[in-house]
């Protein structure tokens, strides 16, 4: 079961790689003119195209790219002429760090909010939490990001407005540097996760066994914890995984607002320079992570709910 899913996952990655490659070919302009910008002379463009191997047919370029990746070779950047894997994994590490920190705060917080909403379902606490989380969902990241900068960086001066981190910074300094982008991302995903958690728990709560448990005289907290949660865990894991995947690929705007050296910024950069190998690698890496997280969600749901393990 898990193996078939893994196989399908890899098949999807392969399909995505074709889409990425084809999509990049369709972009207007080519690498040589984009790298040289306004200062591109016909001579320079011709020379650069030749150096970059852009005169070869697309299929052979695709196959050599794929072959390289399968052998752990991510190719050479068009504009720096250096191996991509170095910066690629540094950037990936930074993005994972930001996403991980955000997840470590957002996931428990979202679950907690979901629990409290359900425990006090229909009361003013539920309504208040609902209003707040829905409001944060409605705010786009670039807006909430600038709002946080205005409040916490400019007015209160509690946190830096830019999050430029380097490898040799101590962990505490790094965590403080990324506090604002992390807060922005928490705001972005918190509402969705807590609302879905709440919905899943409420759905499970309307089952007959909950009535039985009530009649047995169990306390509401105990019912929620022991009876409702195990039955709602599948959808909750699903929404958490989707949000984590969103965290990985949706940080582009946040990385640009906060000057954070992550994968998203790297990708945007290389798009504007038409650095095709870097664009392709970044896109494939992000797609792979997205697919992997979804796969993981499925597997976790299987583990949590034995009924799903059998075809009916």
């Amino acid at each position: 079961m898990v193996l078939t899913r893994l196989f399908y996952g890899m098949l999807i990655v392969l399909a995505v790689s074709v889409l990425i490659f084809a999509g990049v070919q369709l972009l207007p302009g080519n690498a040589a003119t984009a790298i040289l910008g306004q200062s591109a002379t016909p001579d320079a463009i011709r020379e650069l195209n030749l150096q970059l191997g852009l005169d070869k047919p697309a299929v052979s370029r695709y196959l050599s790219w794929l072959f390289g990746i399968l052998h752990g070779d991510f190719g050479t950047s068009f504009s720096t002429r250096e191996a991509i894997s170095g910066p690629l994994f540094t950037r990936l590490g930074n993005t994972l760090f930001l996403a991980g920190y955000t997840a470590a705060i957002a996931v428990p917080l979202a679950l907690l909010i979901g629990f409290i909403s359900v425990r006090y379902h229909g009361s003013w606490i539920d309504t208040l939490l609902n209003v707040i989380t829905r409001a944060t969902v409605a705010l786009p990241e670039f807006f909430s990001g600038y709002l946080l900068i205005l409040i916490f960086a400019i007015t209160l001066a509690w946190a830096p407005s830019n999050s430029s981190i380097t490898a040799d910074m101590p962990l505490a300094a790094k965590l403080s540097a990324i506090s604002l982008p992390c807060a922005t991302l928490v705001l972005a995903i918190l509402g969705h996760m807590s609302n879905m958690t709440r919905a899943a728990l409420i759905a499970a709560q309307s089952s007959a066994y909950v009535d039985t448990a009530l009649l047995k005289g169990l306390s509401p907290s105990r019912i929620l914890w022991r009876h409702v949660l195990p039955n709602a865990i599948g959808p909750i894991i699903n929404v958490v995984a989707i949000n984590l995947a969103y965290l990985m690929v949706g940080v582009v705007i946040v990385e640009n607002v906060f000057v954070y050296p992550g994968l998203g910024q790297y990708m945007v950069d290389s798009i504007s320079k038409r650095d095709i190998p870097v664009m392709q690698d970044c896109a494939l890496l992000l797609a792979g992570i997205y697919i992997l997280l979804n796969l993981l969600a499925d597997v976790m749901a299987l583990v949590a709910n034995p009924r799903l393990r059998h075809n009916r």
Partner: protein
């Protein structure tokens, strides 16, 4: 020997001066306070950075690398605060053979960051780096006329040109002509500059430390410089306002007034740094006749664009690509006003009636879309139907510029009048954005370049400007200022005409007070 009588006279004069003029003392104190202070860590936020940046000047295309590169490297010459040519690694220069042969004397006792000492061979190697068939360097064209670059002594370089060029040495002030040691890779960043490279992370940050052996004792005050890549203009301003950066470049003209209202911040304005242009292809209607061009020149309300789009931080240009800070700028040519009636007259005379499409993108120049819309309104009052189309920034220079009849574009100030004219307006130039193929014009540009007599040169450049103002196929509405912002604790940040960030050398010029 001072006799008693004259001693009393001068002592008396001195005491009178001291008694009557307290400002004299005040000035002395002011000078004392402006004395550079050593030390401190400077954090700068600069845009146009990319993860594909390299330290090699043949690959510098944008501001971030200009600024970082200028911390590490020196040029042979530089442009000073009065828009004059000043010595740097070249102490002096002279030409013979009717300005076809140039001899540069290289400064002695200068050390590279790794301890090697600077000689003529390093200069030859560094200049040759931009030449050759395979070079993609943006300044390759500046050395096209050089037939040989040779070391004619330990500290003497001789450059021979195929055609006379009176202002040749000015071209060497272009930021790309950085000097590194012979046979050294530029990507290692070994220069003679005020700062030594500690860490370079393309598109993220660069850290440099002060060079203790810097040859220019008047510069290089801060201990270290961190240049952060901040491409987002809001992020830059937020960093400046919140104190995360002490100095930023390219402040958005729309928020300049907010920065000016803050007591702890100041704005540094380098006047006339860019021309924003609307080139029309002169071989296509309506630009294929003088009346079509004149109509569009009269139909633009230059001042309105400056006030609305640039917040007033620009000055009116007269379709003249020569900058006012240039010594050959023709002040006496009357400024063409916005005149809908004259525009209408010429438009009718041009015989062109259909709508004219103006392709604008902010890649052309920042604010081009808004400027295009204002142009549309002012032209409509003259009965000219401008169809303003916003095109994507992506591939703008490839698919729109030089391809469509009427577009937006821009040019940064260049070291000499000739550098811009032969880059954008002569027939054989590959960047001739208005398809301006006029043999008489080419002849004038060539004549001015080699004309040794200053008065005659001035006259030729005057004629060139008259020709472009009256007949040229480019609408050049304004000269835009470069706007940098810094904390008031930053001192010594001077404005170099036509160039941002104090001629890219702000890092070595400033010091931190308090």
């Amino acid at each position: 020997m001072i006799d008693r009588r004259s001693f009393i006279k001068s002592a008396g004069a001195l005491s009178i001066a001291a008694a009557t003029s307290s400002t004299w003392l005040g000035k002395a104190f002011a000078a004392e306070a402006e004395k550079p202070k050593k030390g401190g860590h400077l954090v700068v936020g600069v845009d146009n950075a990319s993860s594909t940046d390299r330290l090699d000047p043949a690959f510098w295309f944008e501001t971030y690398m200009y600024f970082v590169g200028s911390q590490l490297f020196n040029n042979l010459v530089e442009i000073d605060e009065n828009a004059k040519l000043a010595p740097s690694l070249a102490e002096s220069w002279a030409s013979t053979d009717g300005s076809k042969t140039w001899v540069l004397k290289i400064r002695q006792g200068v050390q590279f960051h790794d301890g090697r000492s600077l000689g003529a061979k390093d200069v030859v190697y560094s200049l040759n780096h931009h030449r050759g068939e395979k070079s993609t360097s943006p300044v390759k064209g500046y050395l096209d006329t050089a037939s040989s670059i040779e070391a004619t002594g330990e500290h003497e370089v001789t450059i021979k040109l195929t055609a006379p060029d009176v202002e040749f040495v000015w071209l060497l002030s272009a930021v790309h002509f950085a000097i590194t040691a012979e046979n050294e890779s530029f990507d290692k960043g070994i220069g003679t500059g005020a700062f030594i490279l500690e860490k370079f992370q393309p598109g993220v940050t660069t850290l440099t430390k002060r060079n203790p052996n810097y040859w220019n004792s008047e510069r290089g005050h801060v201990d270290s410089v961190e240049t952060l890549a901040m491409n987002d203009s809001t992020a830059r301003v937020a960093a400046l306002v919140s104190g995360s950066a002490q100095l930023i470049n390219r402040v958005n003209p729309r928020i300049v007034s907010r920065i000016e209202r803050m007591p702890n911040l100041k704005l540094v304005r380098a006047k006339d740094s860019m021309i924003y242009t609307f080139p029309g292809l002169s071989n296509l209607a309506p630009f294929d006749n003088i009346d079509g061009r004149l109509a569009l020149k009269y139909a633009i309300d230059r001042q309105q664009i400056i006030d609305t789009v640039l917040g007033g931080y620009a000055s009116v240009a007269n379709d003249n690509p020569i900058f006012p800070s240039n010594r050959y700028f023709a002040k006496d040519i009357p400024q063409r006003p916005y005149d809908p009636e004259k525009a209408q007259f010429h438009w009718k005379k041009s015989g062109f009636s259909g709508p004219l499409t103006l392709n604008v993108a902010d890649a052309g120049f920042p604010g081009a879309v808004d400027a295009g819309q204002l142009y549309q309104q002012s032209a409509a009052k003259a009965g000219i139907n401008l169809n303003v189309v916003r095109v994507p920034d992506d591939a703008f220079w490839n698919d729109i510029w030089q391809k469509k009849a009427f577009v937006s574009s821009n040019w940064a100030n260049r070291p000499t009048a000739d550098a811009l004219l032969s880059l954008v307006f002569t027939s054989q130039s590959s960047w001739n954005e208005s398809a301006w193929h006029v043999p008489a014009f080419d002849a004038m540009v060539k004549a001015a370049r080699g004309e040794p007599d200053e008065a005659r040169r001035k006259q030729i450049y005057h004629d060139i400007q008259v020709m472009l103002v009256d007949q040229g196929s480019e609408i050049i509405p304004l000269y835009a200022d470069a706007l940098d912002g810094c904390s008031t604790k930053i001192k010594g940040f001077t404005s170099v005409p036509g160039m941002p960030l104090s001629g890219n050398r702000a890092a070595e010029k400033v010091w931190i007070e308090g």
